[in-house]
């Protein structure tokens, strides 16, 4: 028994109910009740003009299976999540490795630089990317001035812009997930591999990478979930061209006042996230039993 367990078993009685009750009531009223209502609405029928017919139909969900347009949006959303997870992994791994292994006296500062963007709102950072990537933004004006291009490149208001923006916004999450695994890895293992004659690439592929897979899985699933549910960056960087589930939810709800369909899109997104969290927990459990087996 750990100290924590001991502390937890010490106190019994009716008090815990009173302690958690306020939060529980608040969550029932402002979290569970709204979601239940939304679920009910997702089976209603939309009547053009903003009204709803209180019935039970599956047509809002059926659109995702029958309508190729909405099927495409589901596919695009998943693809976007995968792309962003991939790029954050590629960029986050070297960064996390450096943070975990460095003996520099600026270590604390290097950490702060990774965490600081997390404390800066996504709107502000997306605005920064708009300044960099827009038609007369920094990249285009520099390339034009140096004569590399004749016409400004289209770097945003398309998919590319969304991927760049989301990769940057979510990079800290991936880095921190990888770093926590790499930090707990014994550097002696890598040294041993070197002493046994492995070169750097072999050491990485056969020692470091396999041992850091739990972090890779955690970070990727986390980033994937956040990327497919992101709204700010796809809206601002993607413009009207890029449609993902979250922007469809917003558009259907606020512009078209089609609450039933918006609700169905929202629950489709929620189902995707739910499946991922389920897979993630499975991975976590198998990862743990794998560690125990070692």
């Amino acid at each position: 028994m750990t100290a924590v367990d001991k502390a937890a078993t010490k106190l019994r009685g009716k008090t815990p109910v009173l302690l958690v009750l306020p939060t529980f009531i608040h969550f029932c009223l402002f979290f569970i009740a709204p979601l239940c209502l939304l679920l009910v609405y997702s089976f209603y029928r939309f009547v053009p003009g903003g009204a709803m017919e209180e019935t039970f139909v599956l047509e809002n969900y059926a659109k995702f299976i029958l309508d190729p347009y909405y099927r495409g949006i589901v596919r695009d959303t998943i693809l976007l999540g995968a792309e962003v997870a991939f790029f954050t992994l590629i960029l986050g791994y070297p960064l996390a490795y450096k943070l975990a292994r460095t003996r520099s006296r600026f270590k604390g500062f290097l950490y702060l630089l990774v965490v600081m963007p997390l404390l800066t709102s996504a709107v502000v950072r997306t605005y920064g990317w708009m300044v960099i990537l827009s038609r007369n933004g920094i990249v285009n004006s520099l390339l034009l001035k140096w004569g590399f291009i004749e016409q400004p490149l289209r770097l945003m208001y398309n998919r590319l812009g969304v991927v760049i923006g989301l990769t940057e916004v979510l990079l800290p999450f991936m880095t921190l997930a990888l770093e926590s695994v790499l930090r707990n890895m014994d550097p002696a293992l890598e040294e041993a591999a070197h002493d046994l004659g492995a070169n750097s690439l072999q050491t990485f592929l056969r020692v470091t990478l396999p041992l850091s897979l739990p972090g890779v899985a955690t970070g990727s699933v986390l980033v994937f979930i956040m990327a497919i549910s992101a709204f700010v960056t796809p809206t601002l960087m993607g413009g009207p061209q890029v449609r993902v589930l979250s922007t469809v939810v917003y558009e259907q709800a606020l512009s078209l006042v089609n609450w039933p369909f918006s609700a169905a899109v929202a629950f489709t997104l929620l189902a995707l996230v739910g499946v991922l969290i389920f897979v993630y927990n499975k991975l976590l459990i198998s990862g743990k039993s794998w560690e125990v087996a070692q």
Binding site: L35, L37, P94, S121, Y127, M130, A266
Partner: protein, 281 residues
């Protein structure tokens, strides 16, 4: 007399490294550091650019700025819409932080210090907003508030923000509580303290760092929250993130850069001081 110098203390000979190999290692070190620097540049580029642009003289985005000025800072604070939005955000954030901290501290004590049925389930429920897609909660809240006729008020915003921020408080306060020994509460009770006095004089001082960190997180999350707020804030309760969001969708002058820079500096200061404060206990 001083012909023979003392023999130098025996030093282990460094392993003879082939010069080309040493060069290769040095080169790979340089390349590695360059790669890290480039990744940092990518990560910090938007933030740095926003700060630089905010001091620009021109109303168009010229980079680097040709002349420096503070006119966009003046422009922000002389725009009554922006100032009202900032005030709304501060009020909502402070109220949310207060309520979240209170709820979160109580819930954490219950969850960490007691054992009861459904404890794990409740814990998962209270932490679930962390991974819950904000867009789904946004549409759920707008539907719900329309039904109960509570749309677009100060309290409708606060109630939604409390759901989003309680998990952060529970996480930081729980972390502090794991290090707290229940024996101290028993000792306080034996010495005649009422449960509330024991909490206030014994437990609270010891978990102070977690409480402060949780309250600050709650404030920041609420202050920055855009997605849920976008759905439920009526025209009278515009917050700063919404104002910025609407502004940059159609305009590109650096007014937004000015307020963004102020926020970045505040967050940086919090980032520098918060961990130290949190680690201290």
């Amino acid at each position: 007399m001083n012909a023979v110098s003392k023999p130098a203390p025996a030093r282990p000979e460094p392993r003879p490294a082939l010069p080309w190999r040493r060069l290769g290692e040095g080169l790979s070190q340089v390349l590695q550091n360059l790669l890290i620097a480039l990744i940092y540049a990518f990560l910090l580029a938007p933030i740095i650019v926003v700060v630089i642009v905010s001091f620009s003289e021109s109303a168009y985005l010229v980079f680097p700025p040709k002349a420096l000025s503070l006119r966009w800072y003046v422009a922000f604070f002389s725009d009554s819409d922006f100032v009202r939005a900032l005030k709304n955000s501060l009020m909502v954030g402070a109220t949310t932080a207060l309520i979240s901290s209170t709820l979160g501290i109580l819930a954490s004590i219950g969850l960490v210090k007691y054992k009861f049925r459904f404890r794990d389930l409740l814990n998962s429920l209270f932490l679930s907003p962390l991974t819950f897609p904000a867009i789904v909660l946004g549409i759920a809240m707008v539907v719900f508030y329309a039904k109960v006729k509570l749309s677009g008020t100060f309290w409708s915003l606060v109630c939604a923000h409390v759901v989003l921020t309680v998990p952060y408080v529970i996480r930081t306060v729980s972390a502090s509580l794991y290090g707290f020994d229940n024996v101290l509460l028993e000792a306080a009770a034996n010495l005649g303290a009422s449960p509330f006095t024991a909490f206030r004089r014994v437990m609270l001082p010891l978990i102070k760092a977690g409480v402060i960190a949780g309250a600050i997180f709650a404030f920041i999350i609420s202050f920055d929250e855009l997605v849920v707020t976008l759905f439920i804030a009526g025209p009278r309760m515009t917050t700063l993130p919404i104002k910025i969001f609407n502004y940059i969708e159609y305009t590109s002058d650096p007014t937004v850069a000015a307020i963004s820079s102020i926020l970045i500096v505040i967050m940086l200061l919090i980032g520098v001081f918060l961990p130290r404060n949190f680690v201290a206990a």
